[in-house]
């Protein structure tokens, strides 16, 4: 399968670059730690208030760090004209897209896994039983975020003011992901039964399917040179 081979090579390339430089993940983790710190100043955190706002804080931190990682995904390709090479690769553009989405997904998901224990420690969360369902929520929300984010990363990297335009374009479009992820996380952290917030998890899955397909198709027009 030539298509899957290309996907595999792109993922491999990004992972190797990341393992050698450790730029993206380390900057994302430290940025997120700073976000957590700022939030703990902004709200007077007693146990009860923390319960109410913690899901929102988690997802604001994840979304902002995700944007940092997504922005780097294509801006790193600017060196040595790698972007032009990617545009000229005699392979379907969709394969490049899926490779990039997978790599971005891996980075963001790893950062989320690293950060979540920090939230548990700093905000005294009691989540041992809910970990599998939280992982599922993180997994689904991160797919949607990285699918749309990768498309916009490829789009904004080729224009002026790219650092500003990525969040401006991306955040309004991922409003459904944010709402669904926050509501589902809130439900899970409260220890509610799954049936109460099942629809949010379903909404995340619908968003993932729709936006992976649409972005996959539109990526071809973004990479067209």
């Amino acid at each position: 399968m030539a298509f899957l081979k290309v996907v595999q090579w792109i993922v491999w390339k990004d992972l190797v670059t990341e393992i050698r430089s450790r730029e993206t993940i380390s900057s994302m983790v430290f940025f997120a730690l700073i976000v957590i710190l700022i939030f703990s100043f902004s709200f007077s955190m007693n146990q009860q208030a923390a319960q109410e706002v913690i899901a929102g804080i988690i997802w604001v931190a994840f979304a902002f760090t995700g944007i940092i990682g997504l922005g780097k995904s294509f801006s790193s390709e600017l060196q040595n004209d790698c972007l032009e090479s990617l545009q000229m690769v005699p392979a379907p553009k969709g394969a490049i897209f899926l490779g990039k989405v997978t790599a971005n997904f891996a980075f963001i998901f790893v950062v989320e896994i690293l950060l979540f224990p920090m939230f548990v420690i700093f905000f005294n969360l009691d989540v041992i039983e809910e970990i599998p369902i939280l992982l599922l929520i993180f997994f689904l929300a991160t797919i949607g975020l990285s699918a749309v984010g990768t498309l916009f990363s490829a789009l904004t990297v080729q224009i002026r003011a790219r650092e500003v335009m990525l969040p401006i374009l991306l955040l309004p479009l991922v409003v459904p992901v944010m709402i669904a992820a926050v509501e589902a996380t809130k439900g899970a952290l409260h220890g509610d039964p799954f049936s109460l917030y099942r629809q949010w998890v379903e909404l995340l899955s619908i968003f993932d399917v729709v936006f992976t397909v649409v972005s996959f198709w539109l990526f071809e027009f973004v990479m067209d040179s």
């Binding site: 789009l155 224009i159 002026r160 335009m165 309004p172 459904p176 067209d224």
Partner: protein, 241 residues
């Protein structure tokens, strides 16, 4: 060589403008003077004749933008891109006006300028997407690239719109019963006729503005291209002599 669609627009746009003026004046007369005040809301209800058509037209404009963007990616005709550009700006204006009139209506009836109601929230997200779209266009120098990227964003945003709407609706209705809904108010035919008139009028007005703006953008681009050609010819002839 001027595109033949531009000539057709030149012939047709007067009819749209005239029709818009006729429908809007008739609708305003029927709505503001002829129709009775509402039993519950009194005279305040009359802003509905402006607000609801504005909101409809904003959505209609966004649908046109989506259609134009798909068409552009398919045919790559620059004039379709001019149309999309014009359409996005108009859609943003209509969305902003719908939000503004909605807030003015909300103050006396709901006693608040703003509430995180499903429709309000999805409209403000729509407005943000449209502003992002217009900003994106200003940040790209190459016109072909500008058109392509803008079309990609418009399509993605249009696909997202129903998902945003449903997510926001669930988000609000799960927490508290939706306190205000204009669906609950049954509309009698005395109100429906002016409302319909205004809706048609606004759509015609939008079409008229779209035509004028498309013409303007197209001719501006043509002029720039011509200026560039003349300048390069001038420099070439100077180099020769």
């Amino acid at each position: 060589m001027i595109h033949k669609a531009i000539r057709r627009i030149q012939r047709l746009k007067g009819w749209f403008g005239g029709g818009a003026a006729l429908c809007i004046f008739a609708g305003l007369y029927l709505g503001l003077i002829d129709s009775p005040p509402d039993y519950y809301q009194g005279e305040v209800v009359r802003i509905m004749y402006v607000h609801v058509p504005l909101a409809h037209t904003a959505l209609f404009a966004y649908t046109v933008l989506f259609g134009g963007s798909v068409w552009y990616l398919w045919k790559r005709d620059p004039i379709v891109d001019n149309m999309c550009h014009a359409c996005a700006a108009l859609s943003a204006i209509f969305t902003a006006l719908a939000l503004a009139t909605g807030m003015i209506w909300g103050k006396p009836t709901w006693n608040t300028w703003w509430t995180w109601d499903a429709r309000l929230t999805s409209f403000i997200v729509l407005l943000l997407i449209l502003i992002g779209y217009l900003m994106l266009r200003t940040f790209i120098d190459d016109p072909e690239k500008e058109a392509r990227y803008a079309a990609v964003l418009a399509i993605l945003g249009f696909v997202d719109l129903p998902i945003i709407h449903f997510s926001v609706e669930w988000w609000r209705t799960l927490h508290q019963p939706q306190s205000f809904s204009i669906r609950g108010v049954s509309i009698s035919s005395g109100l429906l006729v002016p409302l319909f008139c205004m809706s048609v009028g606004m759509s015609l007005l939008f079409s008229y503005m779209l035509m004028v703006r498309t013409q303007l953008l197209y001719l501006t681009h043509l002029l720039h291209a011509k200026k560039g050609r003349l300048l390069s010819q001038f420099h070439l002839s100077k180099a020769d002599s």
